[in-house]
């Protein structure tokens, strides 16, 4: 007992960024009340949120990345989690910058928004480091529950209320199914500790005969149930239905955050869960095998192919830009799942690189949507006609983001896609190579399809005549952000060594 308490107290040292986020979130809610009558309330609250995130970043940078279990194995502190924590901090920081300048979140309640946003960042931190079924469930619920509120933040907005209703219903069902799956995993394996799963699964599947087959079936069903919680967070088929409606109805800055933050957190959780407990350690060739021959890489491969195909084919018909980007984000979840299906070091690195680059390019794309919506009040593709004449920077930046999302060189999206496809092709020469080859072909065809609808926007912006000729005049801060995002996409499209090296260093994950 004393040892348990001692471990908990000692673990606080490795938990400082999370503590800052916890207390910072509460402090912002209080500050929102204190500054109720202040004249410069918006600026002060945004400044406070940036300070909290900055403090968390400083403490995160100061923290060791050695793999250590914290709180008696409830969460892990390792280089892998730290990599994703930086992505979450960046997503939170950029969202605060966007919200501070816009009017999507009205001044009387903007402090609540920042406070809740910090709580989501905390939840994502925990998702990336959870090593216990209980912490996995609680962290997913923390992210989800706060997201329901933030999606429906404008209470009198019909669309926002509908979006958050759909979000809460789909989300609760997905987490209910996940919890039910967890209860069976617990029953079969007798522990909540994810790191202790692998040997128990191997032991279970050694039993032969009818009882062995039944156990194996129950195990597979339980894992499928548990993955519904993850699939819902990354918006993969068949848990993608909420995605277009929520993306369209929620305030755009939050949509942008939702498309990069929780998606990356879902992938971090999936990598840790599947590679950590359902696969053996990686061999000298950087490839791992699934425990007891459970065919989960095949299941994920099929999900990946279906997800990207459905996302891309449905995106073609969309005329609302937010809805189009929602289907595009489903497609990108499909591409990224390829990296998980390969079950190799290269695939894992591909997922990490892709989520980092996707953060910049997708936030950038949504920022253009915000800029245009502020000028025209519309998210329809028809209002993008001739954007280059109305605001050249916005049009050129959007062009860069869209080409990068397609995965064309010399943009950063190409780097990300290159690693994912390379990981799949590396597998194509081994056992079950035909299926990996087929997956790569499906991925390549999908990239071609995605070029079609991204190019439709680019054609409208550059080749069509504008319906109205008054100029779009975005705020200076937005222009600076658009410039910085475009520059980052161009720089990392040519000089990707820093990203690759950083992700390479960050592939160390705590194992049981």
């Amino acid at each position: 007992m004393e040892q348990l308490i001692g471990n908990n107290l000692a673990s606080v040292a490795g938990f400082r960024p999370e503590l800052v986020l916890t207390f910072g979130s509460i402090a912002l809610l209080v500050l929102d009340l204190v500054l109720r009558r202040s004249r410069s309330r918006r600026a002060l609250l945004a400044g406070a949120a940036v300070i909290v995130l900055g403090l968390a970043a400083v403490l995160l940078a100061a923290q060791s990345t050695a793999s250590t279990p914290l709180f008696n194995g409830m969460i892990a502190s390792d280089a892998f989690a730290t990599f994703f924590k930086w992505i979450f901090l960046a997503a939170g920081f950029l969202t605060v910058l966007i919200v501070a300048q816009g009017d999507d979140y009205p001044s009387p309640r903007v402090g609540e928004f920042y406070g809740l946003l910090l709580a989501v960042v905390l939840g994502m931190f925990l998702m990336a480091s959870a090593t216990n079924l209980l912490t996995i469930y609680m962290s997913i619920e923390l992210v989800s529950m706060v997201s329901y509120v933030l999606a429906g933040f404008r209470k009198s907005d019909r669309k926002a209320a509908e979006a958050s209703l759909k979000y809460v219903i789909y989300g609760s069902v997905a987490s209910g199914v996940m919890l039910f799956g967890m209860s069976y995993l617990y029953g079969l394996l007798g522990t909540f500790d994810v790191l202790a799963f692998a040997p128990k699964i191997a032991e279970l599947s050694a039993t032969t005969g009818a009882a062995g087959a039944a156990t194996k079936l129950a195990l597979v069903v339980a894992v499928v149930f548990v993955s519904s919680g993850v699939g819902y967070k990354i918006a993969s088929v068949p848990w993608h239905m909420w995605c277009p409606d929520v993306y369209e109805g929620a305030p755009t800055p939050f949509t942008a955050f939702l498309s990069v933050g929780p998606k990356a957190a879902g992938f971090a959780l999936a990598l840790r869960f599947f590679l950590g407990s359902f696969a053996g350690p990686m061999g000298a060739n950087g490839m791992a095998e699934s425990i007891a021959g459970i065919p989960w890489p095949a299941v994920i491969g099929v999900l990946s192919a279906v997800t990207m195909t459905l996302g891309n084919l449905t995106a073609i018909a969309q005329t609302n830009l937010k809805r189009l980007l929602a289907y595009s984000s489903i497609a990108h979840a499909g591409y990224t799942l390829m990296g998980l299906a390969t079950l190799s070091a290269l695939g894992m690195q591909g997922v990490m690189i892709y989520m980092l680059i996707y953060l910049v390019m997708n936030l950038g794309a949504f920022l253009v949507v915000i800029v245009v919506a502020e000028a025209t009040g519309s998210e329809s593709i028809f209002d993008y006609s001739g954007l280059v004449h109305r605001h050249p920077l916005a049009a050129i930046a959007f062009g860069i983001f869209l080409f990068s999302l397609t995965g064309l060189p010399p943009f950063a999206g190409f780097t990300g896609k290159w690693y994912l496809f390379y990981a799949v092709i590396e597998r194509a020469s081994g056992p079950a190579g035909f299926w990996y080859g087929a997956l790569a072909v499906v991925g390549a065809l999908n990239t071609a399809v995605s070029l079609y609808y991204y190019a439709r926007i680019i054609r409208a912006m550059f080749l069509e005549a504008p319906h109205v000729t008054d100029r779009v005049a975005p705020k200076l801060g937005y222009q600076l952000m658009l410039g910085a995002f475009s520059a980052a996409i161009l720089v990392f499209g040519i000089w990707w060594a820093p990203i690759v090296e950083w992700s390479q260093r960050s592939m160390v994950m705590l194992r049981g």
Binding site: E141, M145, Y148, K155, E162, L165, V173, F180, G187, A317
Partner: protein, 99 residues
């Protein structure tokens, strides 16, 4: 009684909840069905914990109860927001986000 009977009952409750979410049109009933799913998971946890003599399953039930309460609070707040803007509790009538 045997733990297996509890597990079977929980699976049955979970099935009712899942089917209810899909077929029921009233938002409040949908939330009741979600509650049923969570409690079915709780019952399974408890049955397995009892059979294995392991306390973990008992502990998680408390967490799930707390989460379910929070989910109900958020969910009902959203139902009120929807009802105020549309005046209906029917899920099918809340469909303006379609092209």
């Amino acid at each position: 009684m045997d733990a297996n009977q509890y597990i079977a009952l929980a699976a049955f409750l979970f099935g009712i909840g899942l089917v209810g979410v899909v077929v029921k049109r009233n938002m409040l009933v949908v939330f009741m069905c979600i509650e049923l799913m969570l409690n079915a998971a709780n019952l399974t946890f408890l049955a397995f914990a009892r059979r294995a003599g392991n306390m973990n399953g008992h502990a998680i039930a408390f967490f799930v109860i707390a989460v379910a309460a929070a989910e109900a609070a958020v969910g009902l707040a959203i139902v009120i927001a929807v009802f105020r803007t549309r005046g209906t509790l029917n899920v099918d009538e809340v469909a303006s986000l379609r092209n």
